[in-house]
């Protein structure tokens, strides 16, 4: 009985993190902390989920604008597409980013509610991007359903 209680306590403690999500198809969990989950595919494509506590007045529009500014104006990535996710729940940016002499697709979703901000990133080579885009959208949808809604 004592062991069961301890086990349950440990399980509960382990589940306390903000990024306890199942890896989508084609990805494995490489590393996880309380706020960051890192997943990789066999072709070296990468998914990363980052959690941050939201601030007062931290609307989706606010986070979307500051991310867009950082990624396009400071990092110099080329914005290919920007679309809202589930109306005001989030935004998805599709960008092109040169890396190691190749062109990479870099997609960033920002989901927010009053308390949380989730940033989900996908980095993949052009050739395999479409293959992983579905996994990325599945993960974004899961986070939306489990945490944002």
């Amino acid at each position: 009985m004592k062991h069961i209680i301890i086990s349950l306590f440990l399980l509960g403690f382990a589940a306390c993190g903000h990024v306890n999500f199942e890896p989508p198809e084609g990805f494995i969990e490489l590393r996880k902390s309380d706020t960051v989950l890192r997943l990789v595919a066999s072709d070296a494509s990468a998914l990363r989920v980052t959690y941050r506590e939201n601030k007062k007045n931290g609307t989706t529009q606010f986070w979307a604008e500051i991310f867009k500014r950082e990624l396009t104006e400071f990092k110099g990535y080329k914005l290919v597409k920007e679309e809202p996710f589930r109306e005001k729940a989030g935004v998805i940016f599709e960008l092109l980013a040169p890396f190691n002499n190749s062109e990479f697709h870099y997609t960033v979703a920002v989901l927010t509610n009053e308390d949380d901000v989730y940033v989900i990133e996908l980095g993949a080579e052009k050739a395999v991007y479409d293959k992983h885009r579905k996994a990325f959208l599945d993960l974004v949808t899961t986070i939306y359903k489990d945490e944002i809604k």
Partner: protein, 271 residues
């Protein structure tokens, strides 16, 4: 005693003649003047045997800018020679240029190599290289063109350009050299008239000291001339990530939320 005085006076007169007069400006200053005034005709200002090598060296390195010819001083004697030195027609300032540039590029290795090739194309050379940190020397007249070309390589993260005016130091050294050469000639004359071993040794000691100083100053003048002729540019190329290497990002206020800065493809793939 009178005879001795007469001989001395005659020698002094001869000595003075050999260093003065129109068209016979003291040699070191000739060198300086020629260096600074590249178009001075050799017939007007002949080069001294002792400085021939330096004069040639400096003349070769002399910037191509046109300059006014040196005006030959008309007076005689050591005093006049000094005046001639002071009146050196400095037609341009002697400026030492140096720059330290830090450039964000997509391919640092290639950019470093390309910068070296550009420097060589402009008549310069590579001084040192450590990975993607390069030090090149470029002809002073090509300095700003070189920096401008580098701006097109990528995002110029930092650019420090320094200039140092060494005209007065150069002139001071030239005057000192001039005076030392006159002193040496005098000492040589005195040495010829030495009457005993003691006198000979004493004069020779002084002659050695003066000759040593002359060589030192010549070396420093050559160094100055080289620093003026070739600007030193320190380049540091680092990997940047972004869409275009030819459109530099305008300087803006940094993102106030620090953790947002961590989002990019580099950190995404690195962890």
């Amino acid at each position: 005693m009178k005879k001795y005085l007469c001989v001395l006076l005659v020698s002094a007169g001869l000595l003075a003649c050999s260093h003065g007069g129109a068209g016979t400006v003291p040699r070191p200053m000739d060198t300086g003047a020629r260096t600074l005034t590249a178009d001075t005709p050799p017939s007007v200002v002949p080069a001294a045997p002792s400085m021939d090598e330096d004069a040639t060296l400096m003349a070769q390195r002399a910037p191509a800018k046109p300059a006014t010819p040196a005006t030959p001083p008309a007076a005689n004697g050591p005093k006049e020679a000094e005046t001639a030195s002071d009146a050196t027609p400095l037609t341009r300032r002697l400026i030492v240029y140096a720059a330290a540039l830090s450039v964000g590029v997509f391919e640092p290795e290639k950019s470093a190599q390309s910068a070296i090739e550009l420097a060589e194309k402009l008549g310069g050379y590579m001084k040192s290289r450590s990975n993607n940190d390069v030090v090149v020397r470029v002809p002073a007249e090509q300095f700003f063109a070189f920096v401008k070309e580098l701006e097109a390589y990528g995002h110029m993260a930092s650019r420090v350009i320094n200039s140092q005016d060494i005209t007065s130091q150069f002139v001071d050294l030239t005057i000192r050299l001039n005076n030392l050469l006159i002193t040496r000639t005098r000492l040589q004359a005195i040495l010829e008239k030495a009457r005993n071993v003691e006198e000979t040794l004493a004069v020779e000691r002084e002659l050695n000291r003066v000759s040593g100083e002359i060589e030192q100053i010549k070396g420093r003048l050559r160094l100055f001339q080289n620093l003026v002729d070739f600007a030193t540019v320190q380049l540091s190329f680092f990997m940047r990530h972004g869409q275009s290497s030819v459109t530099p990002n305008p300087v803006k206020v940094d993102t106030p939320i620090y953790w947002i800065k961590r989002f990019d493809v580099v950190t995404l793939f690195r962890n």
